[in-house]
């Protein structure tokens, strides 16, 4: 789960990280009021779960409260990478001497929370990794011991030669580790971490992704979820315990298992079609899940055909077939549905489906080819 910049900043602040003040506005008038409260120049920042906000015009400097209102007016309602901006963060502008990057994520190789820091901040760290990999220092934190003081200092000393700055950064890095673990995060980033002319080190941006698997035991973090910031289909999928990712094609896919779901999308492409989505229905065959899956898939107006691909291992195919029949009787589906089932009780399942008027296949290749043909009017 991604949280907004202002929420990440609340969490960072609670961990002791120096973060400039800021307030959230959902109207231009409120933005003006906040800016007036701070006085001086402020930054108006779109709160949206997407990178590239600056390039998209979602981050603007305002030297007067009126200007803050004007920027907020322009940014609120803006679409950034398909997501609508509903809130802006208004925060005093800082006087920046240097910009660095500090990030931490769960690294697969070291099997540990791993820091990446670079004195080249304020830009995309991926790009730094490509053009100047030596400018990045990495450190895996042993989860048995946590972040050790000398490790934080070692990272900080990459960022600043000045020892007063390095000591501040060292403290911030240790605090970021605490924030990361106590929030149950999978990624946390300060980009940029700035130093000011006055010799202070501060986090002026904040990014935080929470491990979804932690949310059950972090109710205060789970409350940060902003349903207005995610498409309806994803909210619905999460509630129904499905995995759904929208794509740009027209072949709606409903598959049991994530690997098979990806392989099904790939096979659609292989046969010249375009998958409309990733959807993993999981191991269950209950009709409510099938209903939810069909609602989600059909909420995408591009979908021209719905393809089920079910491998019945532990799941019995006849149960799934009954689920599909029940689900389609309870809701009205426009696009045609074609189904492949194989494995436990497949013959029975195909009979159930044929009786209900569905095309049923046992070969994955055949059903995918047929689905693609149908999108081409064949």
């Amino acid at each position: 789960m991604n949280v907004h910049e202002y929420q990440a900043k609340e969490i960072f602040r609670a961990a002791g990280i120096p973060v400039p003040p800021g307030e959230v506005a959902d109207t231009p008038e409120r933005a003006e009021e906040i800016a007036r409260g701070y006085g001086g120049t402020v930054v108006v920042k779109a709160q949206v779960h997407s990178g590239g906000r600056g390039k998209a015009g979602g981050v603007k400097l305002a030297s007067t409260p009126e200007e803050a209102r004007q920027h907020a007016d322009a940014i609120l309602g803006m679409e950034i990478n398909g997501l609508t901006v509903n809130q802006v963060l208004v925060t005093p502008a800082e006087d920046i001497a240097t910009e660095s990057y500090v990030g931490i994520l769960i690294d697969r190789k070291t099997q540990a929370p791993t820091f990446m820091v670079s004195a080249e901040g304020g830009i995309d760290i991926e790009q730094v990794a490509h053009t100047n990999p030596d400018a990045i220092r990495k450190l895996a934190v042993d989860p048995r011991y946590g972040m050790l003081p000398h490790q934080a200092y070692w990272l900080a000393s990459t960022l600043y030669d000045d020892q007063a700055l390095a000591k501040q950064a060292s403290r911030i890095i240790a605090q970021l580790y605490d924030a990361f673990t106590s929030a149950g995060a999978s990624m946390a980033e300060i980009n940029p971490l700035i130093s000011t002319d006055a010799g202070e080190v501060k986090a002026i941006d904040a990014k935080l992704s929470i491990d979804d698997n932690e949310l059950f035991r972090k109710p205060s973090i789970a409350e940060y979820r902003d349903l207005s910031a995610e498409p309806w289909a994803e909210t619905r999928a999460r509630e129904a315990d499905l995995s759904y990712v929208k794509l740009d094609g027209n072949v709606g896919c409903c598959v049991n298992g994530a690997g098979l779901a990806m392989a099904t999308m790939d096979l659609v492409k292989f046969y010249g079609g375009e998958p409309a989505n990733f959807l993993d229905i999981g191991g269950s065959s209950n009709p409510e899940k099938v209903v939810a899956a069909l609602e989600i898939i059909t909420s995408d107006p591009n979908v021209e055909v719905i393809l089920f691909n079910i491998f019945g291992g532990i799941t019995r195919c006849d149960d799934v077939a009954n689920g599909i029949v029940a689900a389609t009787q309870s809701i009205d589906i426009k696009p045609p549905i074609i189904i492949r089932l194989t494995g436990t009780n497949e013959e029975l399942a195909i009979q159930i489906l044929a009786d209900a008027g569905f095309s049923a296949f046992t070969s994955m290749d055949e059903v995918v080819q047929r689905a693609v043909q149908m999108t081409k009017g064949n």
């Binding site: 298992g257 779901a261 998958p275």
Partner: protein, 295 residues
């Protein structure tokens, strides 16, 4: 021969009284796996009824399952909130091999659990994996017994149903398996491709190895390098997720393209560059295995 599990595997089922645990315990017993103990804290002293009327003792702790039940392997079906704790308990009990089926374990719990398992010198498979099956010998986990058959193919895969799809096609084509290993779809897993490859490399009966990967991470790339440097027999590959967009998690917590790394293209290229032919579709895996065996 086989890897990880065989006739000598004596399994304790952690969470045997739960819905999934009890169902799959019966499935494992029907397949012929030796289930020597169940573990559910608070239910020690009860027994679990197998499909043919066998009686499996239930213990409160893994320590008793090992001491009194003689378990050398555990399989974890407990809910995510308690699963890491169950893995730690298993590692502490002295079993050599732990299979964690549970999906949804917090990744920070697993970072700690992996360190603990390493400290204790045990092997963990998973979590969020379908387990392992050595056809005709034993299955530990949830891979359906009816889709496998004994033979010369070793299978290593990050996914569940995709593995079933591939293995069922192999079986249908008469290509049996020594062992099928589902290493799991989480970002932090115990046994990885290279670990499983090493095990297969010392198994005399495995003649060809199928690697079924997916987007995310660099495990397949490292496997490819390992194969070209160390493996004395052929391997074939498949990668799911060619059409997956970057930055979106494709079901599995580990199946995510981060920036420009972990793409299917990258992995397929690594396979090809290291002499591992790559199937374009699941159905082509059978063809490549046949070619490898007849070469």
């Amino acid at each position: 021969m086989a890897i990880f599990v065989d006739e000598n595997t004596r399994v304790a089922v952690q969470g045997i009284t739960g819905r999934d645990g009890s169902f799959h315990t019966r499935e494992m017993m029907e397949y012929g796996t030796r289930i020597v103990a169940g573990v559910t804290p608070g239910k020690g002293g009860q027994t679990f009824d197998g499909p043919s009327g066998e009686s499996v003792p239930i213990f409160n702790t893994m320590e008793e399952a090992v001491r009194e039940g003689g378990a050398n392997t555990s399989v974890v079906y407990v809910p995510p909130a308690f699963a890491a704790g169950a893995i730690l308990e298993a590692a502490d009990s002295g079993v050599d091999f732990i299979v964690a089926i549970t999906e949804g374990i917090p990744v920070l719990d697993m970072a700690r659990a992996h360190a603990f398992v390493r400290d204790r010198g045990a092997r963990l498979l998973g979590p969020n994996c379908p387990g392992v099956i050595s056809p005709g010998k034993a299955k530990v986990g949830i891979i359906p017994g009816q889709i496998v058959t004994p033979g010369p193919v070793g299978v290593i895969s990050r996914s569940g149903t995709l593995t079933y799809e591939a293995v069922a096609q192999l079986t249908a084509a008469g290509l049996g398996q020594t062992t099928c290993v589902g290493i799991g779809g989480d970002p932090l897993i115990g046994t990885n491709f290279v670990d499983a490859l090493e095990a297969f490399a010392s198994d005399g009966e495995t003649e060809v190895i199928v690697l079924i990967g997916e987007i995310g991470g660099t495990d397949e790339q490292e496997a490819a390098a390992w194969v070209s440097e160390n493996l004395d027999r052929p391997a074939v590959g498949f990668i799911a997720g060619q059409t997956a967009p970057p930055g979106r998690r494709m079901g599995h917590a580990g199946a995510i393209i981060s920036g420009s790394s972990g793409t299917a293209e990258e992995k397929m290229a690594a396979f090809e560059a290291n002499g591992i032919p790559v199937a374009k579709r699941p159905a082509d895996i059978v063809v490549l295995v046949q070619e490898a065996l007849s070469a």
